[in-house]
Amino acid sequence: MIDIIFNLLMIFLIITAFFIVFSKNISHSVITLPIFGAILVVIFVILQAPGVALAEAVMTAGLTTVFFVITINKTKD
Protein backbone atom coordinates (compact mmCIF):
# COMPACT_ATOMS: atom_id res chain seq x y z
CA MET A 1 0.00 0.00 0.00
CA ILE A 2 2.74 2.44 0.93
CA ASP A 3 4.57 1.59 -2.30
CA ILE A 4 1.56 2.58 -4.38
CA ILE A 5 1.29 5.91 -2.51
CA PHE A 6 5.02 6.49 -2.89
CA ASN A 7 5.02 5.88 -6.64
CA LEU A 8 1.89 8.01 -7.07
CA LEU A 9 3.59 10.88 -5.20
CA MET A 10 6.65 10.55 -7.42
CA ILE A 11 4.44 10.83 -10.51
CA PHE A 12 2.74 13.92 -9.06
CA LEU A 13 6.20 15.36 -8.35
CA ILE A 14 7.18 14.97 -12.01
CA ILE A 15 3.88 16.51 -13.15
CA THR A 16 4.27 19.56 -10.91
CA ALA A 17 7.92 19.98 -11.92
CA PHE A 18 6.96 19.96 -15.61
CA PHE A 19 4.19 22.46 -14.90
CA ILE A 20 6.62 24.77 -13.10
CA VAL A 21 9.13 24.66 -15.94
CA PHE A 22 6.77 24.90 -18.93
CA SER A 23 4.07 27.22 -17.58
CA LYS A 24 3.78 30.52 -19.46
CA ASN A 25 2.37 32.52 -16.54
CA ILE A 26 5.10 33.15 -13.99
CA SER A 27 2.78 33.49 -11.00
CA HIS A 28 1.33 30.05 -11.76
CA SER A 29 4.86 28.65 -11.54
CA VAL A 30 5.53 30.40 -8.25
CA ILE A 31 2.30 29.17 -6.67
CA THR A 32 3.00 25.62 -7.87
CA LEU A 33 6.38 25.64 -6.09
CA PRO A 34 4.93 25.11 -2.55
CA ILE A 35 2.79 22.25 -3.92
CA PHE A 36 6.01 20.65 -5.18
CA GLY A 37 7.55 21.23 -1.75
CA ALA A 38 4.57 19.70 0.06
CA ILE A 39 4.70 16.54 -2.05
CA LEU A 40 8.44 16.36 -1.38
CA VAL A 41 7.79 16.70 2.38
CA VAL A 42 5.47 13.67 2.32
CA ILE A 43 8.07 11.70 0.37
CA PHE A 44 10.76 12.59 2.91
CA VAL A 45 8.52 11.49 5.77
CA ILE A 46 7.86 8.17 4.03
CA LEU A 47 11.64 7.75 3.60
CA GLN A 48 12.03 8.43 7.37
CA ALA A 49 13.97 11.68 7.16
CA PRO A 50 11.97 14.05 9.40
CA GLY A 51 14.73 16.62 9.76
CA VAL A 52 15.04 17.17 6.04
CA ALA A 53 11.24 17.19 5.75
CA LEU A 54 11.01 19.97 8.36
CA ALA A 55 13.67 22.03 6.60
CA GLU A 56 11.92 21.52 3.26
CA ALA A 57 8.54 22.55 4.65
CA VAL A 58 9.85 25.70 6.32
CA MET A 59 12.10 26.82 3.47
CA THR A 60 10.07 26.00 0.38
CA ALA A 61 6.51 26.41 1.55
CA GLY A 62 7.21 29.30 3.85
CA LEU A 63 10.18 31.44 3.01
CA THR A 64 10.94 30.98 -0.68
CA THR A 65 7.34 31.48 -1.75
CA VAL A 66 7.12 34.73 0.19
CA PHE A 67 10.33 35.98 -1.38
CA PHE A 68 9.18 35.08 -4.90
CA VAL A 69 5.72 36.61 -4.46
CA ILE A 70 7.19 39.86 -3.11
CA THR A 71 9.68 39.95 -5.98
CA ILE A 72 6.96 39.48 -8.60
CA ASN A 73 4.87 42.14 -6.89
CA LYS A 74 7.82 44.54 -7.02
CA THR A 75 8.75 43.88 -10.64
CA LYS A 76 5.31 43.89 -12.24
CA ASP A 77 4.23 47.47 -12.92
Binding site: F18, V21, F22, P50, G51, A53, L54, A55, V58, M59, G62, L63, V66, F67, I70, T71, N73, K74
Partner: protein
Protein backbone atom coordinates in the same frame (compact mmCIF):
# COMPACT_ATOMS: atom_id res chain seq x y z
CA UNK B 1 3.82 24.37 -40.85
CA UNK B 2 4.03 26.82 -38.02
CA UNK B 3 2.08 24.47 -35.75
CA UNK B 4 4.35 21.50 -36.39
CA UNK B 5 7.31 23.76 -35.75
CA UNK B 6 5.85 24.67 -32.36
CA UNK B 7 5.23 21.03 -31.46
CA UNK B 8 8.76 20.09 -32.51
CA UNK B 9 10.18 22.85 -30.32
CA UNK B 10 8.21 21.64 -27.30
CA UNK B 11 9.28 18.05 -27.94
CA UNK B 12 12.88 19.24 -28.10
CA UNK B 13 12.57 20.90 -24.67
CA UNK B 14 10.92 17.85 -23.11
CA UNK B 15 13.58 15.63 -24.66
CA UNK B 16 16.31 17.77 -23.13
CA UNK B 17 14.75 17.45 -19.66
CA UNK B 18 14.35 13.68 -20.00
CA UNK B 19 17.96 13.33 -21.17
CA UNK B 20 19.13 15.34 -18.16
CA UNK B 21 17.09 13.10 -15.83
CA UNK B 22 18.56 9.92 -17.34
CA UNK B 23 22.05 11.38 -17.10
CA UNK B 24 21.64 12.27 -13.41
CA UNK B 25 20.16 8.86 -12.62
CA UNK B 26 23.09 7.08 -14.28
CA UNK B 27 25.51 9.26 -12.30
CA UNK B 28 23.75 8.38 -9.05
CA UNK B 29 24.00 4.69 -9.86
CA UNK B 30 27.67 5.07 -10.79
CA UNK B 31 28.50 6.63 -7.45
CA UNK B 32 27.49 3.39 -5.67
CA UNK B 33 25.48 5.24 -3.09
CA UNK B 34 22.34 3.29 -3.77
CA UNK B 35 23.62 -0.25 -3.31
CA UNK B 36 25.02 -1.43 -0.01
CA UNK B 37 27.85 -3.76 -0.95
CA UNK B 38 30.54 -1.11 -0.56
CA UNK B 39 32.20 -0.34 2.73
CA UNK B 40 31.41 3.19 3.82
CA UNK B 41 33.82 3.78 6.66
CA UNK B 42 33.07 7.41 7.46
CA UNK B 43 29.29 7.14 7.53
CA UNK B 44 29.54 3.88 9.48
CA UNK B 45 31.69 5.71 12.02
CA UNK B 46 29.24 8.61 12.27
CA UNK B 47 26.23 6.33 12.69
CA UNK B 48 27.71 3.85 15.16
CA UNK B 49 29.95 6.11 17.28
CA UNK B 50 28.27 9.50 16.91
CA UNK B 51 26.07 9.31 20.01
CA UNK B 52 28.89 8.16 22.29
CA UNK B 53 31.42 10.66 20.97
CA UNK B 54 29.32 13.81 20.76
CA UNK B 55 26.32 13.09 22.97
CA UNK B 56 23.83 14.37 20.40
CA UNK B 57 21.01 12.01 19.51
CA UNK B 58 20.23 13.93 16.32
CA UNK B 59 23.01 12.69 14.05
CA UNK B 60 22.64 15.63 11.66
CA UNK B 61 23.36 18.01 14.54
CA UNK B 62 26.38 15.95 15.58
CA UNK B 63 27.81 16.14 12.06
CA UNK B 64 26.97 19.83 11.61
CA UNK B 65 28.27 21.16 14.92
CA UNK B 66 30.96 18.73 15.91
CA UNK B 67 32.55 16.82 13.06
CA UNK B 68 31.99 19.54 10.47
CA UNK B 69 31.96 22.72 12.55
CA UNK B 70 33.98 24.67 10.00
CA UNK B 71 31.30 24.20 7.35
CA UNK B 72 28.72 25.71 9.68
CA UNK B 73 31.05 28.65 10.30
CA UNK B 74 31.22 29.17 6.54
CA UNK B 75 27.42 29.16 6.22
CA UNK B 76 27.16 31.70 9.02
CA UNK B 77 29.69 33.91 7.27
CA UNK B 78 27.72 33.70 4.02
CA UNK B 79 24.48 34.83 5.68
CA UNK B 80 26.24 37.58 7.64
CA UNK B 81 27.86 38.90 4.46
CA UNK B 82 24.58 38.78 2.52
CA UNK B 83 22.67 40.64 5.22
CA UNK B 84 25.43 43.23 5.64
CA UNK B 85 25.70 43.92 1.90
CA UNK B 86 21.92 44.13 1.46
CA UNK B 87 21.43 46.53 4.34
CA UNK B 88 24.37 48.57 3.06
CA UNK B 89 23.43 48.74 -0.62
CA UNK B 90 19.67 49.14 -0.42
CA UNK B 91 18.87 52.81 0.21
CA UNK B 92 16.82 53.66 3.25
CA UNK B 93 13.63 55.34 2.13
CA UNK B 94 9.99 55.43 3.01
CA UNK B 95 8.56 52.07 2.17
CA UNK B 96 5.66 51.65 -0.21
CA UNK B 97 3.15 49.72 1.86
CA UNK B 98 1.55 46.84 0.03
CA UNK B 99 -2.01 47.68 -0.81
CA UNK B 100 -3.91 44.83 0.77
CA UNK B 101 -7.18 45.36 2.56
CA UNK B 102 -7.46 42.66 5.19
CA UNK B 103 -10.47 41.69 7.21
CA UNK B 104 -10.75 41.06 10.94
CA UNK B 105 -10.15 37.35 10.31
CA UNK B 106 -6.64 37.92 8.99
CA UNK B 107 -5.90 40.31 11.84
CA UNK B 108 -7.01 37.91 14.57
CA UNK B 109 -5.36 34.91 12.89
CA UNK B 110 -1.99 36.65 12.81
CA UNK B 111 -2.36 37.72 16.44
CA UNK B 112 -3.06 34.11 17.47
CA UNK B 113 -0.38 32.57 15.30
CA UNK B 114 2.62 34.61 16.42
CA UNK B 115 2.99 33.13 19.96
CA UNK B 116 2.79 29.61 18.57
CA UNK B 117 5.44 30.45 15.99
CA UNK B 118 7.70 31.83 18.72
CA UNK B 119 7.28 28.72 20.87
CA UNK B 120 7.88 26.42 17.90
CA UNK B 121 11.03 28.28 16.90
CA UNK B 122 12.38 28.25 20.43
CA UNK B 123 11.66 24.54 20.77
CA UNK B 124 13.36 23.71 17.49
CA UNK B 125 16.46 25.67 18.49
CA UNK B 126 16.77 24.45 22.08
CA UNK B 127 16.06 20.78 21.32
CA UNK B 128 18.12 20.78 18.14
CA UNK B 129 20.49 18.07 19.38
CA UNK B 130 17.70 15.76 20.57
CA UNK B 131 14.95 15.87 17.98
CA UNK B 132 14.58 16.39 14.23
CA UNK B 133 14.90 19.97 13.24
CA UNK B 134 17.79 22.08 14.32
CA UNK B 135 18.90 25.62 14.71
CA UNK B 136 18.71 26.64 11.06
CA UNK B 137 15.06 25.61 10.75
CA UNK B 138 14.28 27.17 14.12
CA UNK B 139 15.90 30.41 13.06
CA UNK B 140 13.81 30.48 9.89
CA UNK B 141 10.63 29.91 11.95
CA UNK B 142 11.62 32.82 14.20
CA UNK B 143 12.26 34.98 11.13
CA UNK B 144 8.75 34.23 9.87
CA UNK B 145 7.33 36.43 12.67
CA UNK B 146 8.69 39.81 11.42
CA UNK B 147 7.99 38.71 7.83
CA UNK B 148 4.36 38.03 8.76
CA UNK B 149 4.11 41.40 10.48
CA UNK B 150 5.62 43.09 7.43
CA UNK B 151 3.24 41.45 4.98
CA UNK B 152 0.14 42.04 7.07
CA UNK B 153 0.67 45.48 8.60
CA UNK B 154 3.44 47.03 6.53
CA UNK B 155 7.13 47.53 7.10
CA UNK B 156 6.75 50.46 9.51
CA UNK B 157 4.87 48.49 12.16
CA UNK B 158 7.32 45.61 11.78
CA UNK B 159 10.33 47.88 12.23
CA UNK B 160 8.63 49.57 15.17
CA UNK B 161 8.16 46.21 16.89
CA UNK B 162 11.59 44.84 15.95
CA UNK B 163 14.06 47.71 15.64
CA UNK B 164 16.67 47.28 12.87
CA UNK B 165 19.52 48.26 15.19
CA UNK B 166 18.49 45.58 17.69
CA UNK B 167 18.24 42.98 14.94
CA UNK B 168 21.75 43.86 13.78
CA UNK B 169 22.99 43.62 17.38
CA UNK B 170 21.42 40.17 17.78
CA UNK B 171 22.95 38.99 14.52
CA UNK B 172 26.40 40.19 15.58
CA UNK B 173 26.03 38.50 18.97
CA UNK B 174 25.25 35.25 17.15
CA UNK B 175 28.18 35.47 14.76
CA UNK B 176 30.76 36.54 17.32
CA UNK B 177 29.46 34.15 19.96
CA UNK B 178 29.88 31.21 17.59
CA UNK B 179 33.57 32.03 17.14
CA UNK B 180 34.09 32.68 20.86
CA UNK B 181 32.48 29.33 21.67
CA UNK B 182 34.85 27.80 19.15
CA UNK B 183 37.79 29.19 21.10
CA UNK B 184 36.58 27.28 24.17
CA UNK B 185 37.89 24.20 22.40
CA UNK B 186 41.34 25.76 22.21
CA UNK B 187 41.24 26.71 25.90
CA UNK B 188 40.53 23.13 26.96
CA UNK B 189 43.52 21.83 25.06
CA UNK B 190 42.22 20.74 21.70
CA UNK B 191 41.40 22.19 18.28
CA UNK B 192 39.21 25.09 17.24
CA UNK B 193 35.50 24.22 17.47
CA UNK B 194 36.34 20.81 18.89
CA UNK B 195 33.76 19.72 21.40
CA UNK B 196 33.98 15.97 20.92
CA UNK B 197 37.67 15.73 21.78
CA UNK B 198 37.77 18.43 24.43
CA UNK B 199 37.21 17.89 28.12
CA UNK B 200 33.74 19.22 28.70
CA UNK B 201 31.20 17.36 30.76
CA UNK B 202 29.21 15.34 28.28
CA UNK B 203 26.16 14.72 30.48
CA UNK B 204 23.64 12.02 29.80
CA UNK B 205 22.64 11.65 26.17
CA UNK B 206 18.98 12.61 25.88
CA UNK B 207 18.88 15.38 28.46
CA UNK B 208 18.58 19.04 27.56
CA UNK B 209 21.97 20.05 28.99
CA UNK B 210 24.23 17.53 27.36
CA UNK B 211 26.28 17.08 24.20
CA UNK B 212 28.93 19.57 25.35
CA UNK B 213 29.01 22.65 23.10
CA UNK B 214 26.25 21.72 20.67
CA UNK B 215 23.24 23.33 22.46
CA UNK B 216 25.04 26.67 22.84
CA UNK B 217 26.18 26.62 19.21
CA UNK B 218 22.56 25.85 18.30
CA UNK B 219 21.33 28.93 20.15
CA UNK B 220 23.93 31.16 18.49
CA UNK B 221 23.16 29.91 14.97
CA UNK B 222 19.41 30.14 15.61
CA UNK B 223 19.34 33.79 16.67
CA UNK B 224 21.83 34.63 13.95
CA UNK B 225 19.80 33.05 11.13
CA UNK B 226 16.55 34.51 12.40
CA UNK B 227 17.84 38.07 12.68
CA UNK B 228 19.72 37.80 9.39
CA UNK B 229 16.72 36.62 7.38
CA UNK B 230 14.50 39.31 8.92
CA UNK B 231 17.06 41.98 7.98
CA UNK B 232 17.34 40.62 4.43
CA UNK B 233 13.56 40.55 3.95
CA UNK B 234 12.95 44.03 5.32
CA UNK B 235 15.81 45.48 3.27
CA UNK B 236 14.49 43.89 0.08
CA UNK B 237 10.92 45.00 0.66
CA UNK B 238 12.04 48.58 1.24
CA UNK B 239 13.84 48.63 -2.10
CA UNK B 240 11.78 50.33 -4.78
Amino acid sequence: MNRTNEILKNLYKIGLVVMLAIFLLSIFYEMHNLDSDRKRYLSEHYISEGVQETGAINLVASVLYDYRGFDTLGEVTVILTAAAILSFLVPIRKAAILSNTFTIIVDQTIKWMIPFLAVLGGYLILFGHLSPGGSFVGGVVLAIIPILLTIAYGVEISEYKFKPSKKKLIEDIGAVGFILLGFLGVLTGSNFLASGQANFGIGNAGELISARLIPYLNVMIGIKVGAGLAIIFNSLIKEK
